[in-house]
Amino acid sequence: MSFDLSLIATSLPKILQGLGLTLNLLAVSTLFGLILAVGILLMRLSRRSWLVWPAKAYIYFFRGTPLLVQLFVIYHGLPQFGFIRQSVLWPLLREPYWCSVIALSLNTAAYVSEILRGGVLGVDKGFVEAGKALGLSKFQRTTRITAPLAVRLALPAYSNEIVSMLKSTALASTVTLMEMTGVARTIVADTFAPYEIFIAATIIYLVLVWIIQTGFTLIETYANRHVRKT
């Protein structure tokens, strides 16, 4: 088997044509996922069991099944039901893009809500008590004390989740989307050179992960500026 370096070089710009969609899937799913995660977190931390129970079930389900299976259920499974095809959601569920966004968002929401819960549980009870003693309301204590401290504690795990999400966007190629992995697979089908093409894709993913990691390091440094000593 021969190894063609120039093939890597020529395939890089082609794969980069999928970069926009990869980043789009990542950004949109991360945003929806985060919003959903905060809602699930609030339910999970509630004292009312009828709110806690569905949140736990949700987290268990989405962490307990493979993302690929979730994506297939949404893309291939749901359209088999007539009422889905008749529903107002059909214009979305018929699109592989939206199926991918929905699967990625629902999945990441389960993980992120647990990451944030870890942050909340890590906040020293003493700070909340100090807030109570000063007469701050529950809402004020949550927004001014618990949330900012919990987010700081959750940042390292959250950056991990974003990296994981970037790699998960590759699964969208299985439902026909031409993000980077989808483009790479098409080129492989034309050239029969999987080695070089996927190495090219790997290089791009590694560069993206490096950017994400560096970005989060900067954010963490800024968020923890109060920890530094004089």
């Binding site: 003693a133 007469g135 529950k138 109060h226």
Partner: protein
Amino acid sequence: MADIIVLEKMNKFYGTYHALKDVNLTIAKGEKVVVCGPSGSGKSTMIRCINRLEEHDGGRIVVGGEELTDDEKKIDLVRREVGMVFQSFNLFPHMTVLENLTLAPRLVRKMATVEAEAIAMKYLTRVRIPDQAHKYPSQLSGGQQQRVAIARALCMNPEVMLFDEPTSALDPEMISEVLDVMTDLAREGMTMVCVTHEMGFARSVADRIVFMDQGEIVEVSTPAEFFAAPKSERARTFLGQILAH
């Protein structure tokens, strides 16, 4: 003088553990009360019930005329008028000293930032660290942090100050700077309830000493009586232990 804190037959349980047993105590406006006793005697639990950081399970607590019940509004009203200083300072680590001090006046008293900052600087000057206003708590020594915590409570202009072992987490050389601030505060007429093992402070500042053991108030005396001739055997044993060295 008007009674600002009234505890009537107050009881507190942790599960089946009886932490406070029929505690009765009345504190008048302007009074300085030091609470002491062996560890596990219920001192901290008692003062934490006064601003409802702990819920009592029986009896009555009335603070500034408001009885503490499940009514959140009343709890907030009471907490506004009762300042508290903790053993572990509990300054908000993500805020500067100035932000720590202005947070509650701005949010709870709806004060303008400029006004809240002016008050904050006044109290920082009183606890002798105005130059630290823009630092973060982690950049200060323990003694400085505890003085900031006292200033933070004072910014709400409370009727009563509760101190829960304010010097127990401090290195020995920092204890006096905190006690000096507390002594100043006492001289200015603040109503104070202090859980502390600092018997020198108790002797010089307290109007009354409350001695607790095993969840009960065993005796209430003036410092002169308490140190010269404790009424109870348990207090004598306790004093023997802490004054032995």
